[in-house]
Subunit: 382 residues, 2 copies
């Protein structure tokens, strides 16, 4: 029986994590839940799961939840310190990190320092603080298990094999809605067009990142730290059917791939039950009934984002945090119709050009994140 | 440095094994070579590799080689006892078993009893004597590593995971040259048509087995013993491009696949270097430049062979040996234009109907093999 804390329990990954755990009551007990500010949903979860410890990142929302739950034994912690406290609570064995944004970094580090196994969905933890996070995990002897589909695929293909055995990590990309759109029409892409994702249903930022392939840029950075493989040995491959979730090419040329239907509950379960494999009721992939699997190279002329991400990784220090924050603001500016679609990457690059990276301490990351957002708003004409 | 004995060194797998070893002189030393009767080729290999111990299964051929190599220090053993002696020689660490036919069984068992790691290409060892072979290997604590592409793929996907974690082993099949041929035209298939294989270049028996899908039937039986997974959890999947060499579906529904170009040197190297991954100069798979990957179910009405093989496995004992021997004779009868293409499986089934299986001791297997060949000749009108 493993005791689980879920940071970001009211979001998409959080609720799917609870779905997975619900099917395995003999294996997992939920001992802590945290949300950013979704007080009502968090209250419902705390009551359903009989959880005594919850945390809310937003302080006024934490106060509101304390009022709602007064008279119960539930303790409500507030702010990032509250999340850190929850993530390092003595009872916890596994901490699922699924909060959006850089606020996930400090609680993840707190959990690692307390020896918890980390099941990681928050991109920012590795994008903005990957080197430090993995260094801490190495020191603490703690496993960092990925719970997005691409990194879970790589993790499953590697299955503990050493980084030296890897010739290439190959991350697949659906290619997004503009895979076949001619270059000259990119400037006039509207938010409505960009918000239609061919395979997955996701939020606005994630959907736009999937259209620009910035999601793949972020995944490259994450993979670099998660698997200790240099960026020069990580490739992207467009695979519109999204059946092969990623591949590993080993030193001898042999390639392993992980395949599945697009369902986040599978990578969540793989992380939670690792190294075991537990029977699920998830629908099975039937290749004989599946569309042909096709592959094509990424066209970096139309999709520059992954190379921008690589450049940020190469610059090091706080640059990936700046890139990520600038991208989030630029996407928001695009969705607000303040900049063109192609302006998203122009804005990111303009902000990166203004930044001199320094060592990615937590403080520096948070400060750079804030600065980059202001700089993006300013560069984007806001 | 591992000392290697190769049984069947003058055949296709044997010479490719030597190709692989030639590139890794710091890792492997060839200490023994054996062939069925290719005396000249074996002599050349023995001289090139400076091997002091060779064996020839055919006794007159062994005598001929002794004459040719008199005056050298090379010892030439003869017959199956000679192969057994070579396979269990004190210096050997790894024995590559790549001889054709049931004569591979006794030397494999001798090698296992002497604690050698087995790299296994000979189908008959597992088809005719799989249960016994794996029981012996378990007792001796010896690894049996597959060196054909499908089982190597399964082996790589499993990577030591327990049979209980497997929901399905999925063996891929190119589908052969008659994948799209209407059922009513099967009876008139000629040897010339059947000998054209779409992907691999192979010998006559293997090519016909690939056309009838009997090769997949044999692979089902081998996989059952090699991976200790019941036949009910082994499936076939037609995949004409032969890029995915096989797949494992785990209990949680996650699927791992091994991919590569069709080159036997890769599975040979994987077996020899296991558990390491060693850099090779083999051409790399480039999925972005590869044809679309397609999949379809096996049509067992046109391709009954895998189900016949499953029935033989279900009957147990000597039945798989009988099926395999009857099939080899039936294929020969077809190539001699003595029976129709569809007569191959009719003959196999007729022979199986005449056989009451008994326990698959080595003696019983060899006896059943001989009986089945005579019965097939007789059933085939010879």
């Amino acid at each position: 029986m493993a005791n689980v804390v879920i940071l970001g329990s009211t979001g998409s990954i959080g609720t799917q994590t609870l779905d997975v755990i619900r099917r395995m009551p003999d294996r997992f007990r939920v001992v802590g839940l945290a949300a950013n500010r979704s007080v009502e949903a968090l209250e419902g979860q705390a009551r359903e799961w009989g959880v005594a410890h919850v945390a809310v990142a937003d302080e006024p929302a934490a106060a509101e939840l304390r009022r709602r739950m007064s008279g119960t034994a539930v303790e409500v912690a507030g702010g990032v310190p509250g999340l850190c406290e929850l993530a390092s609570m003595a009872e916890a064995d596994v901490v699922v990190v699924a909060v959006a944004g850089a606020i996930g970094i400090a609680p993840t580090h707190a959990a690692i320092r307390s020896g918890k196994t980390i099941a990681l969905a928050s991109k920012e933890v590795l994008v903005a603080a990957g080197e430090e996070t993995m260094r801490l995990a190495g020191e603490a002897g703690v496993a960092v298990l990925p719970i997005d589909s691409e990194h879970s695929a790589l993790f499953q293909c590697l299955n503990g094999r050493a980084p030296e055995t890897v010739e290439k990590l190959i991350i697949t990309a659906s290619g997004g809605p503009f895979r076949t759109l001619p270059a000259e029409r990119f400037a006039s892409i509207t938010p409505e067009q960009a918000l239609k994702h061919p395979t997955w249903t996701m939020g606005g930022l994630v959907t736009i990142n999937s259209a620009t392939l910035m999601n793949k840029g972020l995944e490259l950075i994450e993979a670099r730290w998660l698997f200790d493989v240099p960026a020069s040995r990580i490739d992207l491959l467009v695979h519109p059917q999204s059946i092969i979730h990623s591949l590993v090419q080993f030193a001898d040329g042999s390639v392993l791939a992980q395949l599945g239907l697009p369902d986040m509950r599978l990578p969540i379960q793989v992380a939670l039950t690792h190294p075991e494999r537990v029977e699920t009721h998830l629908p099975r992939l039937d290749l004989a009934q599946t569309a042909d699997l096709t592959f094509e190279p990424v066209d970096y002329a139309r999709f520059p984002a992954p190379r921008v991400a690589l450049a940020a990784l190469g610059a090091g220090g706080t640059m990936p945090a700046v890139m990520n924050a600038a991208n989030e603001e630029a996407v928001a500016l695009f969705l607000e119709r303040r900049i063109q679609y192609t302006g998203i990457m122009d804005t990111v690059q303009a902000v990166m050009n203004l930044h001199s990276p320094c060592a990615a301490t937590l403080e520096a990351v948070l400060e750079s994140d804030g600065w980059a957002r202001r700089a993006a708003r300013s560069a984007g004409g806001a």
